[in-house]
Symmetry: none
Subunit: 218 residues, 4 copies
């Protein structure tokens, strides 16, 4: 680790380097292993450099979390469609699940950080993750409502719980894809989702959404 990067870096670069070091430590040994000392040691610089960049330990973690959050949000927003949507809700869901898990699989370092409350994440981190989750939930809920309506869901369906459940399962899907990429592929998960939707019967042939033709009918 920690190539002998030229000493005396400009602030921005130094920050990036240090955050990379921290990320590595967290992934390898959890948040509990992060200390100013350790970061400085791994980066082969004096402790005070870390202080001058991040103020203190909390600042360091905050910066880490902020960077990860920004990246994660950027990636997710490319996957969640925005209303109004003009596509079949089933296809939409399956595509979104596939896209999201693929994305997670391809950026495991980022998503392990986000998805696993790794080894003693400090309150700060949990708070940020919770925030992010709430944001995603806010995007998801109306979509779910729309989808249920489109599909003709049962009377009195608790869409809040449904949205929550979908979010939870989506997260868990991501987790298992990261944890065991050989056993759990995006494709397998997408297939599972499609099969599940098929179980619900064909999408309601609502007037303005003729549905995908013949489809699984028999």
């Amino acid at each position: 680790m920690a190539e002998p990067t030229s000493r005396r870096l400009p602030a921005e670069q130094r920050r990036e380097q240090l955050l990379d070091v921290v990320t590595q430590i967290v992934l390898d040994e959890g948040f509990g292993a992060v200390s100013i000392d350790r970061v400085a040691r791994d980066a082969q610089i004096a402790r005070t450099v870390v202080y001058s960049q991040f103020g203190n330990l909390e600042g360091l973690l905050e910066a880490l979390v902020d960077r990860a959050a920004a990246r994660a949000v950027g990636q997710v927003s490319a996957v969640i469609p925005e209303l109004p949507v003009s596509r079949d809700p089933d296809v939409l869901l399956v595509d979104a699940i596939r896209a999201f898990t693929t994305l997670v699989r391809d950026h495991p370092r980022l998503w392990r950080l986000v998805l696993f409350p790794v080894e003693g994440a400090p309150p700060l981190v949990r708070r940020k993750v919770a925030e992010g989750r709430a944001n995603v939930f806010a995007l998801l809920e109306p979509l779910v409502e729309w989808g249920v309506a489109q599909r003709g869901g049962p009377e009195g369906l608790d869409t809040e719980l449904l949205a929550r459940g979908l979010l939870t399962m989506g997260e868990d899907a991501a987790r298992i894809v990261v944890a065991e990429p050989d056993r759990f592929t995006p494709e397998r998960i997408a297939d599972f989702t499609a099969t599940l939707l098929r179980w619900l019967g064909p999408p309601a042939p609502s007037p303005e959404r003729p549905g995908p033709g013949p489809e699984p009918e028999a």
Copy 2:
């Protein structure tokens, strides 16, 4: 906290008292806040008493986890039915969800410990929790297979993923019941589950399903 319990307790009682103290600390401030020092301080005894009971910090945490695990397992096993089952799978599922969330709601201290890998749970804790989860999964999977068969699930349904998903959602249900008991009640969650099952259509009216007669045949 920490009533001035009579000094000079017999070992067993002392252990219980100390584990209670630890639990409180974990719930309030996470595993990261647990230290021999802190426990002794909160219990208003000398540090060495803790050592004489648990050997060292790891021993203390292990004892905590073991106690919690024993209790949790005891409670869960009362809720998960064992095959062969002679009841309607939908009712079974709804009842189990209701029973489990009720149980969790009524023992929030225990279940917060188990369900929330709070604030820096040390490897030891995570391992135990993972073990417990695996055990439950082992019980759950055959049940799910049985239920799907009973109900006439779609061709090619990935029951491993389905079982996993149900487990994940069950856990999450428990979590929200503990976290916001006023908004999320066992009844609400049971209702939601029932509605969802209704969506799947009526249980397959398989001839021989008033009871587990010939079973997976048709």
Copy 3:
């Protein structure tokens, strides 16, 4: 170690048992490893038993040293002849050396304790050993004087230093016999001593010591 000797021993027996335990610890891991705790643990009794027998750690060590000293003195006094002696001084010395090293070889546990200021012997121990050494020296010096006179030693020979040197070498002989009994046997050491004495020329055949006859004259 520490067979489950019947609990509730009479004092004298308990003391012996505990001193045996201490001896074993010292031989295995040095004085630094001796602690009331350790002794009690190895003897499988409560710490307080040790206290009631020896008062405190110092008392324990003192008892250990006293017992060892008594035994060592008993053994040595059988080897050191007392004046007046009516035998050839060379034979006397060689015999004594042989007897002593043999004795040491046959009681290695005792003599390792005495001869090796093992691994952090506390002041108390060093003091006792020094005392013992002084006692032996007191016995040795007149013997050496007598021997030198008998043999016709050189004018102005510093018998104090000679006695001291003999003592030192005797001790060292004992040490190497204990440490490497295969390489250094009592016989080898006795032979060496005899050869050395032969180098000095034949013992003065003068009945009453006619003085340093030839001497370094040329």
Copy 4:
């Protein structure tokens, strides 16, 4: 002790200062009294300074031993002649003894450290001392063989034991010179050695070594 040396010393100087402090403690109270805490207290600095210089207690002791060993070796090598030697072996031995004991007398702090396995020297120290002893022995043995040959020693003399004995006595001489410098002077010890050699008779008048006639003149 422990003058209020200016705070904020450069590393090298700090190390020296701390090793001096440790030396003092060892000489006064033995290795058992050395602790990071104690060293810091005596040096009137924070414990962590000691840690930053030596890593841990073992590192501290190792540094102490290494420094002492380097110094001791430097001094001894100036005293032990190397083969081939062109001087009278008796004179050589006496001179060496005199030089060594003088040197020891003049550097008592160093040599007490080396010669007295003081009060619980930890394994590390014992190991180093044993090593040093072995090195000296390796130098000494060929010299002794040469000397015995020169002098015409008796048939079958066990030169290994002789060399060992001389080493042991040399060490002991050093010890008593340090312990009681008034009673035991280098001169007294040199005289004793010379007298002893005289007892062996004149050096063999080997052809190419005309004997210690006029001595250091021709």
